[in-house]
Symmetry: D2
Subunit: 353 residues, 4 copies
């Protein structure tokens, strides 16, 4: 599979074209809607007050309820857009946002309203595409599950990467705030509300597993390396700033005798008793769960006044962002990370066939 994402936050519509959907795949619209709902902004004080209608209209690639094998295009109309919010601050580069970089890249012709193509809203079609990738992976016995690993320094219960409990993650994923340990979730929510009341925002991290991939997929070459492919897709998601496989950054202070995953005999293919390597060695799956953690930076849009510049005059300015913004996007980013993982793994030769 390969996707092509399009749209600006305040343009006519946003959408995605997905190539390589297996012909005959049952396009389960209920499942797709449930995935979209996981990402959609709700009425919760934890998320933006915007009520986007993320109804996807499928323009192509589906016939009589099944993928017909040709490119699948899904489109979401932009309806609740308030462009007037943005004109006044058009030339003020919002710190932490891509405004300035985009202004240099597109020479001032970018659609600046609401972040344009850089808006988090563009993750809606990504979740749509991811839900189709998940349907295709499910047919092969592969499941993608993620949870909030941390918010504002508060950590969810740790996962056992060598033998995770999928039921636990599945239950968590059906909630608006996907954590395993509800008590820690409550503390995270409090930290978000605290930031919100300060006119500020908080960051966090998401842990994602892919279960059911057989050993021997991928390659050391950067075009087929499982870690490279996942990384390429994950870093294209706005606000992602770090990616760790398995034990990730903690490898830096480990010894080899701790870090190496010992092999143990098993009925089918051998397994490892630990899974520090996150299911991947040399860019190739080893049959253990694929496990990675993504760091999401704090929402860049905050109510607190910040130093910035006017991009036209180059002069110093002050900016307080007044719009409707999530004080923490981590909960809503969970299905987005899953979607990117699903698309990335669908791209791996041998996974869907």
């Amino acid at each position: 599979m390969r996707y092509s994402l399009f749209g600006e936050s305040h343009g006519p519509a946003i959408g995605i074209v997905l190539q390589g959907v297996p012909a005959g795949l049952d396009i389960d619209l209920d499942f797709i809607a449930s995935e979209m709902a996981r990402r959609a902004p709700g009425g919760s004080p934890l998320s933006t007050a915007r009520t986007e209608k993320d109804a996807v209209r499928i323009l192509s690639g589906v016939f009589e309820g099944r993928a017909c094998g040709t490119p699948l295009c899904g489109v979401i109309e932009n309806t609740d857009t308030r462009s007037r919010d943005y004109a006044a601050t058009r030339w003020l580069a919002r710190p932490g946002h891509a405004d300035f970089a985009a202004n240099m890249r597109y020479k001032g012709f970018e659609d600046y309203r609401g972040g344009g193509h850089f808006s988090g809203r563009l993750t809606a079609p990504l979740v749509f595409a991811g839900s189709i990738a998940k349907l295709a992976l499910r047919r092969m016995g592969i499941e993608i599950l993620a949870h909030i690993r941390s918010i504002a320094g508060i950590y969810d219960a740790p996962l056992d990467l060598a033998s995770p409990n999928p039921g636990q993650l599945r239950s968590a994923s059906h909630t608006a705030f996907p954590v395993i340990d509800e008590l820690r979730g409550e503390a995270m929510r409090q930290a978000i509300l605290d930031a919100r009341s300060d006119g500020d925002s908080v960051g966090g991290s998401i842990e994602c597993l892919a279960l059911g991939l057989k050993a021997g997929l991928g390659s050391p070459d950067f075009d087929e390396n499982v870690e490279s492919i996942i990384a390429r897709h994950i870093f294209a998601i706005p606000a992602v700033k770090a990616l760790e496989f398995g034990a990730g950054t903690t490898f830096a202070s480990m010894r080899g005798s701790q870090a190496n995953d010992p092999f143990v005999p098993s009925d089918n293919t051998p397994v490892t008793s630990t899974n520090h390597n996150g299911g991947i060695n040399g860019g190739i799956t080893n049959g253990m769960p694929i496990a990675f953690t993504v760091t999401i930076k704090p929402t860049a849009s905050i109510a607190l006044e910040q130093d910035t510049i006017d991009m036209q005059s180059g002069k110093a300015a002050r900016l307080a962002i007044s719009g409707r913004h999530d004080p923490c996007i981590v909960p809503r980013a969970v299905p987005v990370i899953e979607a990117a993982a699903a698309i990335a793994l669908s791209e791996l030769p041998g996974v869907l066939a």
Copy 2:
């Protein structure tokens, strides 16, 4: 630029083909040799006793000392190979290595000797290609500099990502153990020797900067996103398990008011007073130094006996790896990370032209 890497540790030769080298580029053989020397194993107790001759023979793409614009192939003959070391343990999957994953991927036909194509030795042609990419970038005023950020939990002096001191890093890079703070370097070396005397190994991290890139390079699309492109190349390097841009994983516990980089007026393009975002917003350069940190896992080959399986019988086995191995590959990985960064940035449209 785009490369194609080939070779097995104990095959006839290893090498690389590099496409897109700008015609007319002065192929400075002394610079290339100095880069190769930074990665080469030395006689130090900190690294392997193997004395590879990493002399690169350039087969094509260079004419009268300059790149002629057509694909450049560099080859390194394999001479000091002791294949007999490996036959006895052919079917024992070395924990932490790609042996088992490769065995599944290549159905038992892989060249298992010394890790074959997965050997760290394959990073030699990568450094060769990187040195050519560096020469091309240097013409555009771009410099890539890295240092050891940590080994075994001991950290080098921190860098100021918003206004780093290139001279400091350049000096460090000329040493066999590239750290800024020699005292901390000494502590790291002691940690390596301790691990070595225990028959064990240690991991660490490398911090890399790219200086001189103008704002506006890259794109949010995963094919041109600066973070995606760097990630794709970095994760194809053996032993890399995490990648962080700017503040990286620490974003997870930050607030937006800390994390956002305030813009300040400047003579030329505006700058930011902090550089938590590592020079990249929305996949596009913002003109600040590109900064990322890579986690390198501990050397998988250790002398301590480990649990494993025999891949033919599937039965449990014990394995102690006796060969010549670095107890810590982090120092030698520094030029490798720089090389991958140089190649990745050379691939970005607009950088070399």
Copy 3:
């Protein structure tokens, strides 16, 4: 530029996503409409009676009348569709069409109505994308012009490939039947009407020029070879079965002394006195007009009864195709060939920058 085409003839909509449109490009809607009109079916007895409304709705990538640099999506709704025409003959493989090949490729899940994704209707979004590519090329002084070279064995006036007359081609392109010599055009039209009255169809060829490309674009490598890039796009157009550059197939009976294009001094870069090579040597432009000819096979849909098989039973069957079909698609294919050429050349590094 790179495009992603989607849609089925009788699905909700067809469209295209175009990446790499230069930011700031004036999206001249009148020009786009005039290009679309050139391909659209008219009321002429020479073309189908279908009255498609090819109004393109631009969903993204355009802001305040200019390309904003992010992916541009254009969508055409399908309105005049008569799906009932197709159900009765669903399993009869139409000779000369992709029905059988698609049935094998997509395992029976393809949208068979009106040829689905294989319909000539999919060339409408291609012309849309081509018109944008033409606008971008025009800024660089590059023009794409094509005419009908032959229909049913009747040839238009030959072009002088070394110094063609652009005005002549521009005038022809504004007509519904783009030929240079009106008398020969009249003979072609008669041949089409004759075929039509026989319930049959005719093929032909199209000659296309690209003027204004500087010398030194492209590469011998298949990924950047000008002939390879053009070929890749041209052969993706339905009904194209041959592609010739410059003197094309006549090279086979030429001698070197005739075939070689002698260089002659010129005020700017040197030129050649003939242009048998069609402006390309070794995959690289030489500054002369790029010239190629495309063979279009006769419309596969004919009213005459044909032998075929039922794809379900595998048994022999007879089929007469009753719908509304062009007895010759060559006139309407002229802007399609131009569009593919424009897109192909926009993909060449160095053309738009």
Copy 4:
């Protein structure tokens, strides 16, 4: 499979890296040598007097006689090179060659000796790679066979594209002058000798078949379209100027009732009674033989004096090319076309797996 070709005619060596060779493939060195011999210049008056030793040294990707799955690099050293031949005429653009285009592309830094990277000699590693692709295709029951279709306007016996005789083609391919009809071959040879004695050269065409591909491979999308993929590779071969599938250019004067291939029932998948479409509909194989014809222009290097320019001064000059050159490269190009076809088809998803 994907290849990366490198080398200049008078540089140290030429070669190729081939990715995606199936692990376990028996690398039959005798077969490879026999393929190389088909392309090698002989002592015949029909070809160049150069006696290149095209011995390929395999540097990687083969272990114990079989492909080990990682990139396979083959290198041919350049030994019989007479660089002194070229220096005197360094700045004279040889008509019909890429000298001028390359000079513009590579800004004068190109290796001009013997055509550098543009030399026909670069087809040697291509034949090497093609022979490996053929071995991989052979395991899947696929065979590639070509013959000289015409030289100097003299045609070999026509093939029946719907039911060709593979034995006939196999026999022809074992000869130095692969034609089916020896009498016509004799006439071709005479035409070559005539051209040679005139200091001139002749062109021709090659017809190539691929037998044994199942129906349903490929896609309408230009990245997977069978015609697009073949075209991309074929046009990257020096001297190729036209490509026709099936009936090719003759479609232009056919009617639909002649051109359409009627389906007829068959024991296995249905077949067509004619094969004007050359085994491909809508970019997808239909199970019939793939058939295409390639036009090869006359050798550009001729002894006759030609008009040209001096690329440094821009002034008119005269040039007679004195070196050793084939008066017709068509016979030696037959295995090259087969090689490109084999590589192209190996790239198609589903062919090798």
